[in-house]
Symmetry: D2
């Protein structure tokens, strides 16, 4: 194991990754570079510096990636109305490619030959980190301590800390939670604990980002979202950067009890797992984006997008952001968004985000044709007969030849 000289670690500053720093140094006898990013997880990242220094780390990267995260990953994904398995907004999945890319870029900058992460061997995140790393630097060595070491219980981890004088006071907050959690600007997730029984309802005090619908205000909140080329650029007429948009919508959504989700999902590694998610802003964005598209997209491109979406969601969920198939799908999706401009008006109320209005200068809604009133000849109802007759022709021929139709 002596062939690794320097490794870049995705470092949260928490207990687990602190142990990993030490373990890498010991096991591989290599230098460790730490990389800590603010992607909106809601915790200070700067304290990671002192902790890393205390562990003897010399090269420490601490970065605010919130804008880049939303602009280059979350926004492109939402252009596709992406949902995994009909429910999940991919909050964890979409953060991994950015981390993978920065890990590799830092490896290149610091001359590191390996990267490492704190994801377990049962989950999707290891796959996402590593597929990204291999795609961007094919010769990189990946070290996944959870798949290698035998520190597979909290007791062993604590013993390791004691033995190696790693201060255990950090991350006490997390220690108290019975759930495995992950957060970024798009969502916070919960797994484990009593959630491992899919019949058990999540406990109210688990949720952190939203009030319960019951506790939300009695009065609805209305909000107007302005779209340019499929992306939100302003809220209530106020121009904002992508991550500001999401922060604002998280606040609005969370205050109104919006975005809680409780599902059983299929992991890429082959098992089902139960997870709870809070995605307040994303839940609003998904419905609003469909609404602005309903006015501005052509029917056939909209339907084709819907047919491609499950595949696109799967690609992201499974960790193939940095792949030719993702780029190919993105090219198709982005091609459709040029005219997706306008404003959507949403009503937020006790858990629901409802579209109540939409308008656009690029609207393809034609009142003169759609009207129930006299349309002054804009549409010739007689055309419908030929339309139906020829669409029915293949069915009529088949039935005429005795082919069973029911």
């Amino acid at each position: 194991m002596s062939d690794v000289k320097k490794v870049v670690l995705a470092y949260s500053g928490g207990l687990d990754t602190s142990v990993i720093v030490k373990w890498l140094q010991e096991t591989y006898g290599c230098e460790v570079v730490t990389f800590t990013a603010d992607i909106g997880q809601g915790e200070e990242v700067e304290p990671a510096r002192t902790k890393a220094q205390a562990l003897g780390v010399k090269e420490i990267y601490i970065e605010d990636l919130r804008e880049e995260f939303v602009r280059d990953y979350v926004y492109p994904m939402f252009r596709a109305n992406t949902i995994y398995e009909g429910e999940y907004l991919l909050g964890t999945s979409i953060a991994r490619p950015l981390i993978a890319r920065r890990l590799i870029e830092i490896a290149n900058d610091t001359g590191a030959d390996a990267i490492s992460h704190g994801a377990t061997g049962k989950g999707n995140d290891q796959v996402r980190f590593e597929l990204g790393a291999y795609a961007l630097k094919p010769g990189v060595k990946v070290i996944a301590p959870w798949r290698e070491w035998d520190l597979n219980s909290r007791e062993k981890l604590m013993a390791y800390c004691e033995q190696h004088e790693i201060p255990v006071d950090f991350s006490t907050k997390k220690k108290k939670s019975p759930y495995s959690m992950d957060a970024n600007l798009l969502h916070i997730s919960y797994e484990g604990g009593n959630l491992e029984d899919p019949w058990a309802e999540a406990e109210e005090d688990m949720w952190r980002w939203s009030v319960s619908p019951e506790a939300a205000p009695e009065q609805p909140t209305y909000v107007e979202l302005t779209y340019e080329q499929g992306d939100i650029v302003a809220i209530d007429g106020q121009p904002m950067k992508p991550h500001e948009v999401l922060e604002k919508l998280n606040k609005l959504g969370g205050d109104n009890g919006i975005g809680r989700l409780d599902i059983v999902e299929n992991r890429y590694v082959g098992m089902k797992s139960r997870g709870c998610y809070e995605t307040p802003g994303g839940t609003i964005m998904l419905r609003a984006h469909r609404a602005i598209e309903s006015l501005t997209l052509d029917r056939e491109e909209a339907h084709l997008k819907d047919e491609l979406m499950p595949k696109y969601a799967e690609v992201i969920y499974n960790g193939y952001w940095w792949s030719p198939e993702r780029r190919m799908l993105q090219a198709a999706i982005d091609e459709t968004q040029k005219s997706v401009n306008g404003v959507v008006r949403m009503k937020l109320y006790k858990g629901s985000a409802t579209v109540v209005g939409r308008k656009s200068e690029q609207s393809l809604f034609d009142e003169s044709i759609a009207t129930f009133e006299d349309d002054a000849g804009a549409y010739d109802q007689k055309d419908a007969e030929g339309f139906i007759k020829l669409n029915a022709l293949r069915l009529r021929i088949a039935a005429g030849k005795g082919r069973k139709q029911d």
Copy 2:
């Protein structure tokens, strides 16, 4: 126009179709058979008998098709988690094939050579009725008065009534509504009026089947749905027939402000239209069905279902229920539902239908593998390395040969 001898009309008992009875008799000099069905639209159908008799109709069919409607059309559609354009639950679309089939069967029984309906030339329903009719009886003559006559305003219709002594007191209720409405056990729809401006919020007094979320009870309602082969067979342990299930869920959903929808959709005839829908029971069913599938479906069949769903929805929306492509898709869908058994627990509260638990004897969720705790060797984390390495191989080779990956 003398070649039509007898025509079967889809007759609601309302003003429009009453005018059509007379118009058909006059214009085609033919006998009219009326067909009125209770598919859960919430109005008495029996009064249609007297009205038809008053118009000189001799063969009058009045039928309760609620059970058949839900069992043979709504339920199979929900097995696919069917949604059109990401939002619409196809409440109108799914009722048409049943009406088309009965029209043709009655035509066969009564020796009629034509069928007729009251749908306009701008909408999807004419297509759905007629595609079904042609598929089931290829030589049938279809008469669509709205595409033929010049009674294209309410004034002209009223004048026609007066001239032909058609009593206009019926359907006074509908006359007052500014909306074009359609209802069956699955939903009620609203179009026209001020909805023709997609920016205008629907007025509260438009909605008929649900209270507003604001007016819904302060306490949530919990309900347990039992599935067999993808269909709900019991509510809170109480066995029910399909239409009883939907009636019950409509009541529960409506009482809790669930199932309102306000969208712009793409019609098959080529225009966008704005519609509002109330689908209380269906909204609950959709989420619940996904939840029971999340436990009982294999990942790949679930994903394949999701990829096929938009096509299946389009087939139904466009009116191709009676087609080989619908049967082909249905065969694939139904093949997956054999083990979709179990119970889903839902929370209904002020507009939201939320899954809070699911269980099944056919569950594929394996706690011993999914657990965050020690799994006693049920899953070997080291397998993940090979899994990732080979999945990454194509990406690594490409990157190694200088292929750009970002």
Copy 3:
């Protein structure tokens, strides 16, 4: 019918479209502009000028569009390995959007308010011309004489000619043929005559562009095709323009009996029809393109292309070249072609075009990994175990829980 002032006609110079010139002048009392294009149909286009003049046409457009046709339509289509219904290379379909575009551009240039064509009311070409025209100039008036007039037999046409002093000596060659034919650089097609019986073998003397395999040379011909970004840019090392490439391959293919096809296809208007086609160059191009892609495309983008291809083929066949869905698909396809560079070596022999070699500087084929010999550690066979184990996990869990697997 007096509201048409000027109409641009797709004019071949043949009998039918000459009659149409006169019929338009008479029926609509409007000026006729003729448009005749050389798209490689193998007939002189210049004679159309005199004929048009003789019919009183003042604005006559005669253009050589061969290069544009292959570069902007045929080549993009072949990037997708496009085949309709598993067999048909879309030779007729792909020429229509170009004609439609020029008709509209000429209408704009000449101030015409209508366009016209000589396609019948039973075929796909009317749809393709008209969808293109409406998409590019939504207010245009389209006149389709074959759907309007009663000159629906050759006798009536001849009588019309005599009556209006249209010289009938032109197109005598076509008159003798029992087949309806259409040709451009990509193919020549045959319909009608004894082909209307799908069991009857096409007669040898029907085929015009290729010798029979039996009559082809006893020695194979080898040819090397150089690709850049998915398009052929050189043959046997000789740089050529797109239309020169196709002309050359038509010659090589035709000489070797390559590219004959005899199928029953499904028309967009709802009927089946039997057609025979000669596509010598296209048949070579299709196989060669797949071969260069086999070296240079990533697996997943290649598979995704294959999944999208039938839809793309349908879009073109049905006449939706000028549509958002075609642009969306094209964006995805073109995204994949950046590295599709290299050389393919083909063997042409008595009806077969066989790939015998392919090479590329962007090749993703890695001999060091693929080899059956010792690979010096490039690939760790032990990775396969984890790969298989995790891919099998969902199946094992299901089987372990008693789920039937066969």
Copy 4:
């Protein structure tokens, strides 16, 4: 390694698997059961008995599975017109699920707790065997010697034989071939040797099942294939069992130089490999099946089949025959084949299999409508106008609102 008591080995009787018998006995100290099947590979299977006995095997299974192979695997696959990556007829892939199933059934019959095979760690076959095994018997132990041992060269294998007194005279024929080959009734494959250079043309003496097109007869052979529900049941009117059909077509095809293929394909394990294949009968069957479908399938079900086919091919290629997704796709495919009955006439000549006629009592080809002659009103050409107008409506609205269409 002492926990394996009995292992069922897929035993060819050749050198490699004979070594495996001994190696399993030695390494695992377990009893070995051999299973040798005739699936049409063209070699006697009975000699495997003596060889196995000589190696001390007590339970020896030798079976003729040709009929089952073609009836239950090859035929269902051909109903989908299955091709992998546009070229490959899946000859190797489709034989694996049958072998996997028999291995597991024999394991169950003999009380074995493990299965073993002679596939390498680089290929697809290991995946196919093992996915099948795990799906059918989730607790089975799989032993893949090529991934475990260090006998990774022919020299080491020979040394092992000498050391363990394994007679090396068998399989001398194969030893001489520079290619890795695999054969069954559907095809014979070649990999390795000079094929590892994708630019190198395969040598003529490599091919074993077909004459070269150059050496094929100067006179074409005609053959008529009778279909019932998508499967061939008779050749030239002579009823035959499935495997007899394929044997006969292999003979006819091979004699006429039909079915050679030379491709670079993407393996599931992530690398590209070059392979040559001879699939004489399959090549004829593929074209013939499309031809009978062209007459008897509805357009939309045919198109949907084409859209699903690449996925279905991938499922089989990757080894997921025994999976819910394959069953789901098969249900859809088989649903379409009920009326796929009739006769196809093929011309076989020097490498080409050409369809020259097709007929069916379930034909949906309607001469009275398709005809270029007077159709006596079967089709109203005026219907086409409405059909086009409404299909164009969305494009016209978009263009009318200034949306760019080119």
